[in-house]
């Protein structure tokens, strides 16, 4: 499943997309994020359960700002959450 967390406002689209089929619930992205944007939650979409990464409820409405420090306007962009994820389950829309 492609879980889109984030929002669209007057200035643009801000979504963190987590591919839950790829996510193995290891939690490395949670530790890698310096601003506490990510967390591990129980997979409610599957009765069998399991853990999956998600953007915290609190951060869902402000990731434009929380993720800002990791996104330089010029030069190479190295997003800690994306780099930490071995199965490459995380993408950012902006």
């Amino acid at each position: 499943m492609q879980a889109h967390y984030g929002y669209k406002d007057g200035s643009g689209d801000y979504f963190i997309i987590i591919d839950t089929d790829k996510c193995n619930g290891c939690g490395k992205c949670v530790n890698a994020c310096p601003y506490g944007v990510l967390e591990l939650i129980e997979d409610e979409f599957d009765i069998e359960g399991g853990l999956m990464a998600a953007v915290t409820e609190e951060q869902r409405k402000k990731i434009k700002y929380s993720c800002g420090p990791c996104k330089p306007v010029s030069g190479e962009r190295r997003l800690p959450c994306v780099l930490a994820c071995e199965p490459k389950a995380i993408t950012h829309s902006w």
């Binding site: 499943m1 889109h4 409610e44 869902r60 829309s93």
Partner: protein, 293 residues
Amino acid sequence: MSEKSREFWRWREYRYTMPDMDWHDTKVVTAGVDIGSVGSKAVVMLDGELYSFAAMRTGGESEETAIKVMNWALEETELKTENVPYVVGTGYGRVNVPFAKRTITEIACHARGAHYIYGPTVRTVLDIGGQDCKAIRCDEKGKVMSFLMNDKCAAGTGRGLEVFADLIRVPIEELGKTSLDVEDEPPPVSNTCVIFAKAESLALLRQGLSREKVAAAYHLAMVNRIIDLLTRVGIEKDFVVTGGVAKNTGIVSRLERNLGIKPLEPKLDPILAGAMGAALFAKALYEKEIGLR
């Protein structure tokens, strides 16, 4: 009530019990309670078939509303809440359903409910609720493949329509029809904020535009915003609209016109999709618990 103090935003609360069904000879009675931000819905199912339901406004007290809506759904059935062995709570207030055994996210419930209402051909579900808008892609089993929820802002939601109904003094149930009563579509108002959209609509009214025209401009703005969200997850046939706003013909017909895809006609009330999905999950969970499967 005088015309002046009439509440144009207030929609009718209702309940219904299927007349030719009897809970005495069923194996599994389950219920789903969907506490939304504006409306609360309860659905009771007998062996996975819709039996009775109720829909009412969510008050400030989610817990009280949950009890009230459940009791109302059971009113003519002689069943009591304690006779329903498995209840699943969903929606914004899902943690406030005291008698629910489990909570499930409304996204999974809406996909499952839409799958039940419209059949297994559904691939894209658009749920326009009171305070958010969800675009969901699902497979033939009603399992979620991709989803997106926008709850940062009330533009493009039912609550925005309520505010607008009050502004142009047209009852919420007739708003969609009013917005279609125009010869050609005016340009849309701002679509990023309800407050701005309302202010712009007011300005248009002052310029002497008819309320039908202003309604059309407002609906078009909402539809444009919703389509933006839909394109992010992608649209695939069959396409359906659920939630309270699915009853607004102004929104649904504009979606059809601008997307070029006709949404399926609902067989059951689309406002109940979330609660129905929850009741169906309850059935699966209960059967698992007692070892029926």
